[in-house]
Amino acid sequence: MTPVTSESAQTVIEASGIVKRFGGAVAVDDVSLCVAEGEIHAVVGENGAGKSTLMRILAGILTPDAGTVTVGGATLEGGAKSAIDAGIALVHQELSLVPEMTVAENIMLGSPPTALGFTKSKELKRIAAAALEEIGVSVDLDEPIARLSVSLRQFVEIARAVARSPRVLILDEPTATLTPAETDYLLTMLQRLAAKGMAIIYISHRIPEVFSICTDVTILRDGKLVETTAISETTSSAVIDAMVGRELKLDLQVTRESHPGEVVLSATGIRAVGVHDVDLTVRAGEIVGLGGLVGAGRTELVRAIVGADPRSAGQVTMTVDGVTTTIGGYQSAVKAGIGYVPEERRTDGLALTMTVSDNVALPNRRALSTAGVLAFGAITKFVRNLADVVGLRPPEIQREVGQYSGGNQQKVVIAKWLGRKPKLIILDEPTRGVDVGAKAEIHRLVRELADEGAAVLVVSSDLPELLELSDVIHVVRDGRIQGTLPRAEADEKTVMSLASGETMVSA
C-alpha cells in the first residue's frame, strides 16, 4: 500500500481558485484544495463557512464563478454527470435520496444498469447488494427510503457513493445523524476505503473525529481558506481557534448545580408506534436526558408525550403552580406550557420562506395581539429581544429563516419557545449539524433555562453533550426505557452498554 503522505501520493483531485457567489454574498472565496490517493482530508469550519458549497462545486452540482476543478489531471466540464463519470461521489449533508423509491433504486440512482434503455432490475439489486455489503450494512433492498430511519438513510447514501467505485469520496457531515457506535463503524470503514487508495474528503463539526482518522485538514472561515495542514502538525484547539477566528472559551466540562423542584411533567404507561409502556417524570429545574441509539424510539416517545403523534395508551399530565392539566392533543400541550423543539428543524421546526420575526411570533401570536389583531410594534420588540437572547447572527429579524445557517436556524426554533416562558422544554437533537460556537451557546441557553426553573427534556445522540447537560439520563432501546442513570453514575460506557442492550440496570 502507498504510504499515506500527501507528498508522495498521487494527487487525484485539485480545485484551484474556486469562487462562488449567491446574489451579493460570497459563499466561497478563492479556495484551493488538493487531495491525494489514500488521503483522508478533513474540511472544517463554522456553519456557513462554505464547506458544503465547495463540495457541491467539486461534485459538479454547482458551477463556480471562477476557478477550476481537475480530476486526475483532466479539467471537469461541470454538471453532476461529468463529475460522477470522473469518479467523484458526494454524500450530501441534507440527505439526497428519493423517499418513494426503494433502497436498491436509490443506491443506483442516475446510473442503473440498463439494456436498450430498460433497467435490469436483477443486476441493479445485485450491484446495490454488493455496495451494501462493501460498507457492511444489511437492509431490505425493496424497502422504500421513506420507511427507513435517518441513520439508515445515511448509510444508504454512503452505499450509493461506494457503489460507483469512486476515486474521490466526499462526505459532508455524515456523522451528524449517527450514534457513537455507528460513527466508529463509519470511521473504520473510511480508513479501510482510504487504504485501498480512495481519496476521501471528510467534513465534520466533531473535531475529535477529524483527529482520529484524517491525515490533513483544511480550515475555512467566511468562505475563505484559512490554512491547510497535516493533522500531525496541529492540535484541536489550534484548529478550533482557526475556524472561529477568535479565542473561544469552551467550558464544555462545566457541571451545573441542579436543584430539582416539583414534578412538572408526568407521563405514565405511554404507548405509541415504536414506544412500549414508558413512564417518565421531569421536575422543575431539572435536565433529563434521553440517550440511546438512533432508531431507539426517543423521537417517537417525545412526540407521543407532547401529542404531536397519537398515543395508543398512557396518561400525560403537566403540573404548574399546583394545577394539574392532562395533555391530550398537541395543542393542549402547548397551552399547558410545553415547548417542543423537533428533530427535523427544516421540515418541522421552521417555515423557511418566512422571516425570523414571523417564525418566532407564530407560537406567541396570541400574546402579541389584541382581539386577534397583531401588534407589530410589540412583535418587533419581542423578537429583537429574543434574537438577542439566543445570539442570532446577524440579528436581522426581517430576513427569511431559510437564508440562515443551521446553527442560527436552531436558535430561532429555540427562541420561538423561549418567548412563551415554557414550563417544560423538550429538545430533540438540539445541536445536530450545529458548529462548535453555536453549540456552546445552545448549551448555555439550556442550562440557563433549567436554572431559572424550567423543566428540560433533551434527546441527544451526542454522548458528550448528553453527559454534559443532563442531571439524569434515561437510556432508551426498542421503545422502552432500559435504564436510568443519575449524573454521578453516567459515563459513555454505561450509557452505551444500556443502549446496545448488553446489560440491564433497573432504576
Binding site: 453532476a80 450530501h92 418513494e100 442516475g110 444489511s138 441513520s151 466508529d184 397519537p310 391530550g328 426498542d478
Partner: protein, 357 residues
C-alpha cells in the same frame, strides 16, 4: 394492524462495530411480506372505489358489463388523457392545458384534407405544445401550474381562431365512421389505442430507465439532479408525452365524431385529474402509477355509464358523482386513521382537563 407490537428492527443491533450493521428490517413470513408489498402500492384507494362501483353496478345496472364495449369506450374517453397527465404529475408538475391541446390538435387534423397527413400534423402539434410547456417550465423557469394555465387559455383561443369558431368537418367522413366501428372483437380502435397507450406507459414508467427516473424527479428533484439525472430532459419528455397523448385523444375524438369541435374537451381536464388522483397519484409527485390511473378511470367510467343507463336526472347524477368522489378522497386510509386518532386524543384531554390537585 396493531400498533404496539413488532417494530421492524426487532432483530436489534447487539454489537454495532465490527463487520456488519444489522439495521435493516428482518424479512418476515409470507403474510408480513404481503402486507409490506401492499403497503408499498399506491392503488389501494382506487381499487376500493372500483370494487364498490363494480358491485353496485352489477346489482343495479348489469347492462354496464354485458355491453362492456360501450363501458370500455367511456373509460378510454376519460382515461386516455389521464394516462399522459400521470407522467407529468409523477414529476411533481401539472399540465392544465391538456383539454385545449385536445381541441387544437383536433382542429389541426380536420383542417388538413389528407387524413394521414392530418393525423401526423395533429400528433406533431401535441408534441410541440408539450415542448412549449416544458420550455416555459424548464428553460424560463416558471411554475408549470401557471405556464399551462396560460396555455389553457391560449390554445383554446387558437382552436377558435383556426376553426373560425365553428366545428370543422372531416373531408373524409367515411374514414371517421369506419374508425368508430369495432376492429378486434368488440373493441374499437379507441379502446385498442387506449390499451396500447396504457401498456406503453406502464412499461416506460416501470421498466425503462428514463421512465423510472420520473419518480426521482418528482420524489426529490435535488437528489435527482445530484445523481446526474438529466432532470430537464425528463421534464421535456414528460410534457411531450402529455401533449402527445392529449393530441392522440383529439385525433381519436375527431375521427369518431367525423368533425373537430373547438369547444371539445370541456370535461376532460377535471375528469383526468380525478382519475389520476383517485388512482393514488400524488399531486406533489413521486408517488403513483398509470395502473392507478387506469383503476381511477375504470371506476369513474363505470359509474358514469351506469348512471347514464339508469336514466336518473342529470342533476342527481352530478350530486351522486360528487358525493362518491368526496367520500373517496376523505376516506384515504392513512388520512382517516390520523384524523380519527387526533380526535380521540383531543377527547381524552378534554375528559380530565383542568382538574386542580
Amino acid at each position: 394492524m396493531s400498533q404496539q407490537t413488532d417494530t421492524p428492527q426487532g432483530g436489534g443491533a447487539p454489537e454495532a462495530t465490527p463487520q456488519t450493521m444489522q439495521l435493516g428490517a428482518a424479512r418476515g413470513g409470507f403474510l408480513s411480506q404481503l402486507r409490506v408489498t401492499l403497503a408499498r402500492r399506491t392503488e389501494g384507494r382506487g381499487l376500493a372505489l372500483l370494487t364498490v362501483v363494480v358491485i353496485a353496478a352489477a346489482i343495479l345496472e348489469p347492462v354496464v358489463f354485458t355491453s362492456y364495449q360501450v363501458t370500455l369506450g367511456r373509460v378510454a374517453l376519460i382515461g386516455l388523457v389521464a394516462l399522459g397527465l400521470t407522467a407529468v404529475i409523477l414529476m411533481g408538475e401539472l399540465d392544465l392545458s391538456v383539454a385545449s391541446t385536445l381541441a387544437v390538435s383536433g382542429v389541426v387534423m380536420a383542417s388538413i384534407p389528407d387524413i394521414w397527413l392530418g393525423v401526423l400534423a395533429a400528433l406533431a402539434t401535441g408534441l410541440i405544445i408539450g415542448a412549449i410547456n416544458a420550455f416555459f417550465v424548464v428553460v424560463v423557469g416558471i411554475n408549470s401550474f401557471i405556464a399551462t394555465l396560460g396555455m389553457l387559455f391560449a390554445l383554446r383561443g387558437l382552436a377558435f381562431v383556426l376553426s373560425d369558431e365553428e366545428p370543422v368537418r372531416l373531408s373524409n367522413i367515411d374514414a371517421g365512421i369506419a374508425f368508430g366501428t369495432p376492429l378486434l372483437g368488440p373493441l374499437t380502435p379507441r379502446v385498442l389505442l387506449f390499451i396500447a397507450a396504457f401498456i406503453a406507459l406502464q412499461i416506460f414508467l416501470s421498466r425503462v430507465k428514463a421512465g423510472r427516473e420520473f419518480y426521482a424527479v418528482g420524489g426529490n428533484r435535488q437528489a435527482a439532479m445530484d445523481a446526474g439525472i438529466p432532470v430537464r430532459r425528463r421534464i421535456f419528455t414528460g410534457f411531450m408525452i402529455s401533449g402527445f397523448v392529449a393530441a392522440l385523444a383529439g385525433v381519436i375524438n375527431t375521427l369518431e365524431r367525423t368533425a373537430a369541435d373547438p369547444t371539445a374537451g370541456s370535461t376532460v381536464l377535471l375528469a383526468s385529474f380525478a382519475a389520476a388522483i383517485i388512482g393514488g397519484v400524488l399531486l406533489n409527485g413521486g408517488r403513483g402509477s398509470v395502473l392507478g390511473t387506469l383503476i381511477g378511470a375504470l371506476a369513474l367510467g363505470i359509474l358514469q355509464v351506469s348512471l347514464t343507463l339508469s336514466g336518473v336526472q342529470v342533476d342527481i347524477q352530478d350530486i351522486f358523482i360528487g358525493v362518491i368522489l368526496l367520500l373517496a378522497v376523505i376516506t384515504d386510509p392513512a388520512n382517516l386513521r390520523a384524523a380519527l386518532a387526533g380526535v380521540r386524543s383531543s377527547f381524552r384531554s378534554r375528559e380530565k382537563a383542568q382538574t386542580p390537585v
